[in-house]
Every structure is written in structure tokens, then in C-alpha cells.
């Protein structure tokens, strides 16, 4: 049931499921159905989706340690790329819809406001991960170097959750839950490395 073959077969369904929210929000935005402050709503939804997908990619790696779930790793690349897709939409909403390409203002905003700084760096770190995600490039780089580059996902996840944490004015329950999950996943990895160092090689 949890075979690589079955998982590979279900990929198109998952693809559509993860793509669907962005299409829905775009449609709602264009037709004026995203509430009273549609730009803010669009930005929030896209950002939250991106953060959740980033966390899911981290979870997949951890869960694939369980024998029965080993094959779910086949979903990781697609979900990681979707995370990048949602981050790009989130960032372009901020640049184009929220600030109308006012670059001077945007640069100031990125420098001066810690939460935007965190989000922006997180976005920058995601770019090399997305670029190096084709089989061809993995081959060319060699798996070891590729793996090293992809350690960037840890700062990406931490910065993204901090981006959300700082944004929230009060009642930080939701960002704290995300941060907690990320820390647990990281601890698990560190623990694994310490107890079975040969895995790291």
C-alpha cells in the first residue's frame, strides 16, 4: 500500500490538491471575494501555506525513517517546490499588490523591519534549493554537495517561522506550534547524527 509505486501514482492528485488553493485565492481576489482587505488576506494565506509546506518537507524526511513510510520521500521534492511556488506568490503579492513596486520603500522595509528581514532571507535561501532540484543538477553536483546545499532548509524553516512569530501582535500560539514542530524535527536529526554518525557520511 505504501509502496513507492503507489505514491508515485498519486502524485498528480497531490499536485492538484496543493495547487488548488492558489487558484482559488486568485479567483476570489479577482472577483472581489477575499473579504474587506483582500491584499492582506491574499498575502497571509499564501505565506501561511508556504510555511506549512516547508514544515511538511521537513516532516517527510523524519517520517521516512519509519520503515513502513519510507517511500513518502518521493513527495518531498514536489512539496518543496510548491513551498517555493507559494513563497514566490507571497513575495510578489507584497512587492506588486501591497507596495506597487515602490522599490525604495520596499528596500527600507526589508532593512528596517525584522520580520520582513527574516522573511526575505528565508526566501533568498530557498532559491538555491529550488534551482538545484532537478535530477540533472543533482547528478552534476554530486549527492554530497547537493545534500550540503539542501541543509539550507533548516535556516529557511527557522527564519520563516520567526517571520510569522514576530508578525503576530498577541496570542502567538500558532507560530509557537510551528516553531515547536521545527525544533523537534531538528532535534531528531541531531540526535540521529550523534547516535549513528556513519549516517552523516
Amino acid at each position: 500500500m505504501f509502496s513507492t509505486r503507489n505514491f508515485n501514482r498519486s502524485k498528480p492528485v497531490l499536485f492538484i490538491l496543493i495547487l488548488f488553493p492558489s487558484l482559488l485565492w486568485a479567483y476570489q481576489f479577482v472577483t472581489g471575494n477575499l473579504g474587506v482587505n483582500p491584499i492582506e488576506k491574499l498575502m497571509d494565506e499564501l505565506g501561511l501555506m508556504a510555511l506549512r509546506l516547508i514544515i511538511i518537507t521537513l516532516m517527510i524526511t523524519t517520517l521516512s525513517n519509519i520503515k513502513a513510510l519510507k517511500s513518502i520521500v518521493v513527495f518531498r521534492r514536489m512539496i518543496g517546490l510548491f513551498a517555493f511556488y507559494y513563497v514566490c506568490l507571497h513575495f510578489s503579492t507584497y512587492i506588486v499588490l501591497d507596495h506597487f513596486l515602490d522599490m525604495q520603500f520596499i528596500i527600507q522595509d526589508i532593512i528596517k523591519r525584522p520580520f520582513i528581514t527574516f522573511g526575505f532571507i528565508s526566501f533568498l535561501f530557498l532559491i538555491p534549493l529550488a534551482i538545484t532540484s532537478t535530477n540533472n543538477i543533482i547528478k552534476r553536483l554530486g549527492f554530497k554537495l547537493w545534500k550540503k546545499i539542501h541543509y539550507l532548509i533548516y535556516p529557511v524553516a527557522i527564519l520563516a517561522s520567526m517571520h510569522f512569530y514576530v508578525l503576530v501582535r498577541a496570542d502567538k500560539t500558532e507560530p509557537v506550534i510551528y516553531m515547536g514542530i521545527i525544533i523537534l524535527l531538528l532535534l531528531h536529526r541531531i540526535f540521529k547524527r550523534l547516535t549513528r554518525p556513519q549516517l552523516a557520511q
Binding site: G35, V36, N37, E40, Q108, K112, R113, A170
Partner: protein, 305 residues
């Protein structure tokens, strides 16, 4: 209810109209949807436009009542609208204490029978960099202060929101230290722009907007305009306020709208007027510079933000 013609004030007209509307569901629906419900404001164009700029357009009743911050009902801006159905704004009393001639508790109806309700259309600028234009009904806070008879030693006014966790689900969680508290300097409180609002768009104040009575200080960020007030205290020292206590590096006691003093979360140079696509420039004192700038001529506004 029988009313003598001599007793009729604009406020009572609103109440009556509301009672009449309640009589028929159809007309009640009509009242919230059709522009005719707002017709009584068109006669008031003088008051109406006094505090507005040419390019200020009223926000809709729907926008004002479905998108706002009132953490007592939840932290999301849709929560006040969704979670305030069980709140009971009547009967209502306001306790007056601190440095006053005689501490006392006023019945809201008694206060309302002693004041003149008028229309005030103000811009409201939230610290989160969005804004609206809202047609309030209310009376000047100075009128209530006169009734309260503060001592000359009173330099500040503190306001306290009701604490009813069973009716206000947001209060069941400690997002803020409840009850919500706010404060003004006495001269700010006495300024003619400062009102206690009891209605909007000619309706009684909706629960989600601070029923039955709330403060409106249009030249300050929205969080200063405390809602559902049950206590007013006169003090000789600057009172603690909720957001300042929670994050003093972000929120000051004064919280005057000021495009030149940045907030770590939001640039205060621009704002999104709800309903508009492009951002607008934020105005000093939210555009009420003429009326209030003199209050702060000796104050370094970058320090006392």
C-alpha cells in the same frame, strides 16, 4: 414607549427608528442593505464634512462591522463580528472614580439623557497601517467629564473595558492582561474632537465595535479608542495602558498617528484605506493637525510616541 416631543434628541430618534425597524424583519434587512438607511446622514452634510478631506469616502457599514480589532472577541479581524453575538450591552453602567468630587456609578441611560448626540465622521487609522472613514454618533467626552466633576489635581483619565469572559470568548485566553485599559492626558480628553461614541451609521453601536459606548480619538492609532467602557478613573499620574504594558518598545502612551515615527512591524508612512487598491500617505495626527498639534508643541514626539 411614549416620548414627549420635547424629549426628542437625535439619539432617541435613532433608538426609535431601530425599534421600528426591529418590528419587521424585512425592513430590518432592507435597512442594513439599502442606502436609504443612511439617508438621515445626507441632511447633515455640514457636520459630516467638517473633519474630512475631499478624497475621504465613507466606508460601508459592512466593512466597518466585519473587519476590526477587538481582542476580547478574538485576535483575528473577523472574530469580533463572528464572536460577539452573546454580548449583552444593556443594562450598562459606568463607574466614575479616582480624583473626583464624589465617586459614583452612572446609568448609561442617565448619561445619555444629559448629553447631545451628534454625528461625527472621522478617519480611523489602525497601527497595523489600514484605515477607514466611519460615521459615528456620540457626544464629546468633555461633557461626561463635566458631569464627573474631577478635582483640579486630576491630570490623566483612565478607561477600563468590561470583563465578561463568558460573553467575550477572547478574554478566556490571556492574550492581553484583562481587562483592557487605556488612558488620555486631561487636555486630550477635553479636546472637542474626543468623543464617546454610542452608534455608527445611525445604528446603536454594534457589539463588535464596542457596544454600548466606546471612546473615539481620531488623531491616535485605533487601539487608543477603547471599547465597551465600564470605568473611568481620574488620576494625577500617567496610567498604565494595555498595549504599552505588553510591548513598550512598540506602543507608547501617546500613540499619535505619526508617519515619521516608525513601528518595528509596520511602516507608518503609508496606509491602506479599506476599499482602495493603492496605499495612501499617512497624515500627521491622521489629518487633524490643526485641531490637536498645539497639545504637543512641547513634546518630543519621537520619544513620546
Amino acid at each position: 414607549m411614549k416620548i414627549l416631543s420635547s424629549e426628542i434628541t437625535p439619539y432617541k430618534t435613532y433608538l426609535n427608528r431601530r425599534k421600528f425597524i426591529k418590528g419587521s424583519l424585512a425592513s430590518a434587512l432592507l435597512a442594513t442593505v439599502s442606502p436609504s438607511a443612511f439617508a438621515n446622514h445626507d441632511n447633515n452634510s455640514l457636520v459630516y464634512n467638517k473633519y474630512l478631506n475631499e478624497n475621504d469616502k465613507l466606508n460601508s457599514y459592512e466593512e466597518i462591522t466585519t473587519y476590526n480589532n477587538f481582542y476580547e472577541f478574538g485576535t483575528h479581524k473577523k472574530h469580533p463580528h463572528l464572536n460577539s453575538g452573546n454580548f449583552k450591552p444593556r443594562p450598562w453602567t459606568i463607574k466614575i472614580d479616582g480624583l473626583v468630587k464624589k465617586p459614583q456609578t452612572f446609568d448609561l441611560e442617565k448619561i445619555l439623557s444629559n448629553v447631545t448626540i451628534e454625528d461625527r465622521v472621522y478617519r480611523l487609522r489602525c497601527v497595523e497601517a489600514w484605515s477607514m472613514v466611519i460615521p459615528w454618533q456620540g457626544f464629546q467626552l468633555s461633557e461626561l467629564i463635566k458631569m464627573a466633576e474631577p478635582l483640579s489635581s486630576a491630570k490623566y483619565v483612565q478607561f477600563v473595558t468590561v470583563f465578561r469572559p463568558e460573553e467575550m470568548p477572547g478574554q478566556q485566553k490571556r492574550t492581553i492582561i484583562w481587562p483592557y485599559r487605556e488612558g488620555l492626558r486631561m487636555d486630550e480628553a477635553m479636546n472637542p474632537l474626543t468623543i464617546l461614541a454610542t452608534g455608527l451609521y445611525g445604528h446603536e453601536m454594534p457589539n463588535q465595535n464596542g457596544a454600548p459606548i466606546r471612546l473615539v480619538v481620531p488623531w491616535k492609532y485605533g487601539f487608543k479608542s477603547i471599547k465597551s467602557i465600564v470605568e473611568i478613573r481620574f488620576l494625577d499620574t500617567q496610567p498604565e495602558t494595555s498595549w504599552e504594558t505588553l510591548a513598550p518598545w512598540e506602543y507608547g502612551f501617546y500613540a499619535n498617528v505619526n508617519p515619521n515615527v516608525n513601528h518595528p512591524r509596520w511602516s507608518q508612512g503609508t496606509e491602506r484605506r479599506i476599499g482602495e487598491f493603492k496605499r495612501r500617505e499617512t497624515l500627521m495626527f491622521n489629518g487633524y493637525e490643526e485641531e490637536v498639534a498645539h497639545l504637543y508643541k512641547d513634546l518630543d514626539l519621537t520619544k513620546f510616541y
